[in-house]
Every structure is written in C-alpha cells, then in structure tokens.
Symmetry: C2
Subunit: 252 residues, 2 copies
C-alpha cells in the first residue's frame, strides 16, 4: 500500500498548492490520504521550515527546472515534478493502487478523471464566467445567467452520465471501475461534496434520482482513512475563495 521510490525507500511526496483552499489539490490529497501515503502539504508547512507560499513560488520560478510546471497543483516525487491534476492522479494511480493495472482500465479511469475535470471547470465557471480576472461581485449578473443554464442542462447531463457509468459497471461495490476503489471515485465524491456545498437545493433535487452517486459519495467519506482525514482539521472547509462556492442567489 505504501509507495516506494526507485531504490525501494519509502517515498515522501511533496504537494505544492495555494494555502487556504482545497482547490484542485484536494483531488490529489484524497488519493494520498486514502492510500496512507507519506506526503508533505507544503502550504501547511511553516515558511520558516521551507513551506508556505514562498515554497510554491520557488517551485514555479526555479531556473534549474528543465520541465517547468505551468501552475499548481504540483507534486514532487523524488526528482520529478508533475503538474496538472489528472496527470498527477495518472502518475499516482499505480503506486497508490488506486487504478487498475491493465492498460484499458488505466485509460478508462483517466478518461473518467478528465470528464470529472470538465465537470468541475464548469462548476467554477458558474460563479466566474468572465474568468478570475474579475471578482464575483463584478460578474454577478453573468454568473446568474451561466448558472441558470448549468443547473437546467449541464448538471443533470453530467450526473446522469456518471450514474449510468455506475450502473453499467454493474458491481455490487459502489465504485465506477470494476470492484475496486479508484482515484476517479475519490474525485467524483469530492465533486458531489462540492456541489452539495455550492448548490444545496439544486443538488439535492438532482441527486434524488441518482442513488448510485449518493451511495458512492457516502462510501468514500465513510472510508476510515478519509473519515480520519476529514476529522483531522487538515481537510480545509469549503469557502467562497475556493473552486466550489456557495452564493444563495445562484442556487434558485
């Protein structure tokens, strides 16, 4: 269950992401936590001990890096720097045993993670249709229009799709890929948690007819390690600086 580096030593991963929000890093954290992997969440490491925002800026700005990341989240694994959330999960899937070993299974899990990415990008767009160059307050009217279409058309389309994936998988277990938990399930549960925070009323309505997604969400947050992580205080609370935001005026 524990990942080892090329020399067989226990690997300590370092995760670089902005402090104060779950953001895209949370998809990576859930995978690391579920696997019981050793990692340092650099945003939580004091600046005096080499963590915090300066650590992130250092990784982004280092001139010695031959393959520079564009943006956090960034995972350091030994001498390798890996960026882009689905790419990090693809990389971790094997050593953390959160993806099938066969190539078609690995690709399918990755395909699900990419569709989940499309989904949460659209959720972010509901409150920031003009991008993050403008504050929410500068785009409230636009956010309303975008959210109206999202809740009426896109939300049921995405949830309907993932419910169908669960149904077609046909396992007695609540997971999307065969009978084993994968990082796609962890990411899916995180998006459902985010939706319940952002749109309590609309998401309750839409999830009513998606029993398999509700069961998946429940099963993930019931996992002993995930439950311990959520209770530890290390999992940050959802908040309105984050990917998922709760503006009551959008949750009609």
């Amino acid at each position: 269950m524990i990942a080892r580096d090329a020399t067989g030593d226990l690997m300590t991963y370092e995760l670089f992401y902005w402090p104060g929000i779950q953001g895209r890093a949370e998809f990576v954290r859930l995978a690391l936590e579920e696997a019981g992997a050793r990692y340092l969440d650099m945003a939580a490491v004091p600046e005096a001990q080499g963590g915090g925002v300066p650590a992130i800026l250092r990784v982004l700005g280092t001139s010695g890096v031959r393959r520079p990341p564009f943006a956090p989240p960034i995972l350091r694994a030994g001498r390798q720097l890996i960026a882009q959330t689905p790419n990090i999960l693809l990389f971790l899937g094997g050593p953390l045993k959160l993806a099938p070993r066969d190539e078609p299974g690995r690709l399918w899990t990755h395909q699900l993670a990419l569709t989940i990415l499309d989904f949460y990008v659209e959720i972010f767009d509901t409150h920031h249709p003009l991008g993050d160059g403008y504050a929410y307050e500068e785009q409230k009217a636009e956010a309303k229009r975008r959210t109206r279409y999202f809740l009426a058309v896109r939300l049921p389309k995405f949830l309907g799709y993932f419910e169908r994936v669960l149904e077609l998988n046909g396992s007695r277990r609540p997971w999307m890929v065969g009978a084993r938990l994968s990082y796609a399930d962890l990411s899916m549960a995180q998006v459902i948690a985010g939706l319940k925070y952002a749109f309590p009323s609309a998401s309750a309505r839409t999830l009513r007819r998606r029993p398999r997604l509700r069961a998946l969400h429940q099963a993930v947050f019931d996992r002993p390690r995930i439950a311990r992580y959520a209770a530890s205080g290390r999992r940050l609370d959802f908040n309105n600086e984050d990917l998922f935001r709760h503006y009551p005026e959008l949750d009609r």
Copy 2:
C-alpha cells in the same frame, strides 16, 4: 510508423466527431495524419455507408457499451472506445511514435497536452463566456469583457510559458520534448494556427517576441504529411461555428 493491433494486423482507427468543424478532433487528426496512420473520419463517411451524425449518435447511445464516452471526440481502436482528447493522444502516443517511451517523458508530454487543453478552453471561453447554451449574439458584451482580460493577461502568460518550455528543452530542433516531434508539438501548432485566425492582430503582436513558437508552428505545417493533409481539402477551414472564431470586434 504504422500502428498494429494485438494480432499484428494493420489497425484502422475510427474517429467520431461532429461534422463541419475541426474542434477538438483536429488535435487527434493531426497526430493520425503525421504518423500516416490508417483511419476513418466518420463525419466524412456518407450516412449510407455508416458514417455521418447517425454514426456518432450510435456510438454515444449504444446500450452494449460497458464504458461509455461522455462526448466526442471518440476513437475506436479495435474493440476499445477512447474519449477525451488528451486521453486519446496519450493512447496514440506510443503506437504512432509521437511520444517518448520513458515514463517521465510520457507524463511530461501529457502534462503539456493538458496545459494546451486549458489554453484552448480559455480561447473558446472568449467568445462563449456564458457557455454554449447561449448564442454568441446573446453574450457579445460578456465576450468583450472576458476577451479583454484574456488578451491582456492570459494570452501572454500561456505563450510565455510555452516559449520558455521550448527554450529550456534546449534542442536544435524546434520541438518541446527532446529532439523528436511529439503530439504536444502538433497540438501547440494547431492552437497557434487557431489564434492567428481568431485574433490576427493581437496574436501577431504577442507572437512577435516568441520566435521559438513561431518556428514550431511553421515546422509543423511544413511537415510533408501535414502539408499534404492541409492541401487535401480534408482539413476543414476555420469557421465561426468552431472552437476558434474570428469576431473582429474582439480582436482590438
């Protein structure tokens, strides 16, 4: 150079995408064309011969599929259906010899493809900030605001990043990953072509100080097979139903 299936036979891929636009499928087409792979572009196959829109709807709606795709582009390779553009390229990279063989190199190429995806999603958002639930004409004012920030901040940020990737790669060849052409280069060239179409004035200005990106774009479209494809009439023209759109009012 030619991909073979598990039995050693020549593989004929089938590509499913909406007709009339390049869209996300073009990133896949460029890879298939550069490699000289055998493939059927199902949108170009007459309906009477099993192609066209009905073929796409069939793939999306088939009840016999255990791992259903969410949306096109979709690649059929033997009995496997693969969706999500970066996932398709990840799958094709090996057999088409458009990605390094070593694992860190494969992940780095994929990471670049995912950052290119982020980039073209933001380019799409310039003309459709409220999503495709509304016509461009219904979101012209919003498109102007989003585009203003995109051209001032995001466009130079993305192009500056990819120029730096080329510089750090330090090859005499114009590519991003070592000395060999990869699918990331093909995708990058396609985005530059799209930018030149969508924002002729702003992109000329921003590309002036990015000589390596200009050279990459030129080198890709000078490749014999890509040039032959572009001249064949099979490569569709850019148009205003597509991912990259030219609205003069946005290209200030």
